[in-house]
Symmetry: C2
Subunit: 184 residues, 2 copies
């Protein structure tokens, strides 16, 4: 299974692709989708849409994972709108490619990658680097995208293990399903 | 000049196309872009993106107009995010078509169409119907989209008239420019 993680931002969007073969998770690619500053808003959103489609065409992921937006009630509606616009262009591209999207809460991703839901940025980066056997720490947005992809790859692995070990225990299957929210 | 007005919504998006020939503004088309309920979020945003591109291909507008989002500080960040996602897919499609986007505040559109910035929904609908010589009042979202398009068509007409009548009066030209905000 190949997983594309995306960390949407209004300026830079990070992406990361990982591959899971049985219990092994390996690095495929990561990077930032940078938008041309001189473009209009519509031009930038079109560029973002195209870049996401390009990444999907190049790396052929089976699923995409986007971090659930953490929205404290203090978030200004304006910044939520701006972030929403970037997410809209990204999700439209994923929809065009016809692959499923999963969403995880930031704490779930941290927990899955580092073992703690409160890990800080630098702990996350170094764990992503270690899990994927990279030479250097990946840059911020791409690290978050890789972490989201790892989280889904591990959730899938755990779900498979659980299905093998406890085929009829409905509660445990349901509890692992709670963490995984397919975006409808 | 042909103007496409769009009223983005997370469920239904209205559109309206008007044509300005000299001082005459006429109706070209209007309707709602309805999304298939059973689709996932990514599927819906892709559908919205495609439907906007189809409208642009069919009616070949020169510019697009989107109502500026009215965001009272009480707006929940969650609803701002959801509306932003729809706007993102729409703007990406307008960007792909390569046409310019203009944004007007709701009060500017009301003022332009009815003569009052505080007109209510039904006053707006009946003025849109009268200006465009329609047989019936257009439905809600499409009426708002037509109103946005009329506003831009009239702003363009006024700007032209002013340019002819007062070619060197910078203040009046600037004041008409304030109302028109090209989205960058």
């Amino acid at each position: 299974m190949r997983v594309l993680g995306i960390d949407p931002g209004s300026k830079v969007t990070g992406f990361g692709v990982v591959q899971r073969d049985r219990s092994e998770i390996s690095h495929v690619a990561h990077g930032n989708l940078e938008l041309t500053r001189s473009l209009t808003l519509a031009g930038k959103l079109d560029q973002l849409h195209r870049l996401v489609l390009e990444v999907i065409e190049r790396h052929a992921p089976d699923v995409a994972v986007v971090e659930e937006v953490f929205m404290p009630s203090a978030t200004s509606p304006r910044s939520a709108l701006v972030l929403g616009q970037a997410r809209g262009a990204i999700m439209a591209a994923i929809g065009a490619a016809g692959i499923a999207v999963f969403e995880y809460a930031p704490a779930t991703i941290k927990q899955s990658v580092t073992g703690s839901g409160r890990a800080n940025k630098s702990q996350m980066k170094s764990m992503v680097r270690r899990v994927l056997d990279l030479d250097t720490d990946p840059a911020g947005d791409a690290a978050d995208a890789l972490a989201a992809a790892i989280c889904h790859a591990q959730a899938g692995r755990l779900a498979t293990l659980e299905a093998i070990q406890r085929p009829r225990k409905r509660t445990s299957r349901r509890s692992s399903r709670v963490a995984v929210r397919r975006v409808r």
